[in-house]
Amino acid sequence: MLRKALAAGATLIVLAGVGLWVTQPRAVEPARYADLTPDATAGEAVFTAAGCASCHHAPKAEGADKLVLAGGQSFETEFGTFRAPNISPHPEAGIGAWTLEDFAGAVTRGTTPGGSHYYPAFPYAAYARMAPQDVADLWAYMQELPESAETSAPHDLGFPFSIRASLGGWKMLYLSDDWVVTDLAEGAETRGRYLVEALAHCGECHTPRNALGGLDLSAWLTGAPNPSGEGRIPGITPGTLDWSATDIAYYLETGFTPDYDSAGGHMVAVIENFAKLPASDREAVAAYLKALPDGS
């Protein structure tokens, strides 16, 4: 009897071990980043399109202070409250001591330099599609930003979400660098796809999630409950959003809807970023959205 129980216990331990091994945090392949020449100037546009500052600037920061990535903003979700960490180039409080590989592992794989998992409130499931050159440029740009000595605040999550190892399974299910939408025309539509699906991570809010917090790709960009519990994030497929391509591009530039209402909530930060990008990028997003299936 005892022997049987011991054998069962040992089996469980082995299975758990195999599970943890299979789902362990993965670093990037160094070869992907080895021969790149980082360009900090190009990195600024990646930084803007990826919206890094929107979540990582200090709460209530205005103007140039939004480039001090001290962290501290809170994000309420049904899994608990996430707090954005300090990602300024400060060597201790921020990420100044990282290598390009550490940074790429964090951004595209959700893996910490120490080899554990980040929570997907950090939208690495979108950034997984980021081109290695853009990652390198982004890293070069972010190292030039001001340092902040602010200590990162911990997340406040309930069990079992507080166990980071469980994220390995989540990543197996939901972390992929494949495009969501295929068969697009090369050019504006594919540039738009790169902006929407990778950098600007639009799907994170505009696509509904299942019980495990994974995106329901069959309902891509068709709208979702607001994770903060207040209101609904609208669908932006042609079935829901009947704006012209010009209307969409103009909204991303100014925040004005075709009725000349103006954006509110988190879209204010998104538009602030898109307004700084070239007009061709706003038009590319519009071209991509117009090329989506109806979704209704």
């Binding site: 103009y250 530039e253 100014t254 509110g264 204010v268």
Partner: protein, 150 residues
């Protein structure tokens, strides 16, 4: 006595209706935003290139926007007229948590509206640039003080 009790009971029943007070203030403040939107539409259609630029029409629209931006706001936003107290409004309770900041956001709209009024006659490009700045003032306030639809 009986009448008094009955009257008190009716008054008690009528309480929820009191929560719908400030109808006039809601109409006034929502009306001023409509006037802004209609005139922004005239300018925006020119900026987008959907309508030919007209210096006169642009100036009229910019004048109207500037005039609305001069309306004194505090009488339109009494405490208890937010979305936490009644239906028909998306005004967040945060407005009354920092009313000075709220009115400073309106003042910022006034500055942009005055700048737009000065440049509206200078052509389509100038209107587009002025609208971008004005749009920034709209968003800055909506970001903090207006709830999402639904």
């Amino acid at each position: 006595m009986k009448t008094f009790v009955l009257a008190a009971a009716i008054a008690g029943l009528a309480m929820p209706a009191v929560a719908q007070d400030f109808d006039a203030q809601l109409k006034a403040r929502q009306g001023q935003f409509r006037i802004l939107a209609i005139n922004l539409g005239i300018l925006g259609d020119m900026a987008k290139g959907e309508v030919d630029y007209s210096a006169e029409a642009a100036q009229d629209a910019a004048d109207s926007i500037q005039a609305i931006s001069m309306v004194n706001q505090p009488p339109l936003w009494p405490e208890g007229s937010g979305a936490d107290s009644r239906d028909g409004t998306r005004a967040k309770a945060e407005i009354w948590g920092d009313f000075d900041d709220f009115t400073s956001k309106w003042a910022a709209l006034g500055e942009q509206a005055t700048a737009l009024q000065a440049s509206a006659g200078d052509g389509r490009e100038a209107v587009g640039a002025g609208l971008r700045e004005l749009g920034g003032a709209c968003k800055a306030c909506h970001d903090s003080y207006r709830a999402s639809p639904n």
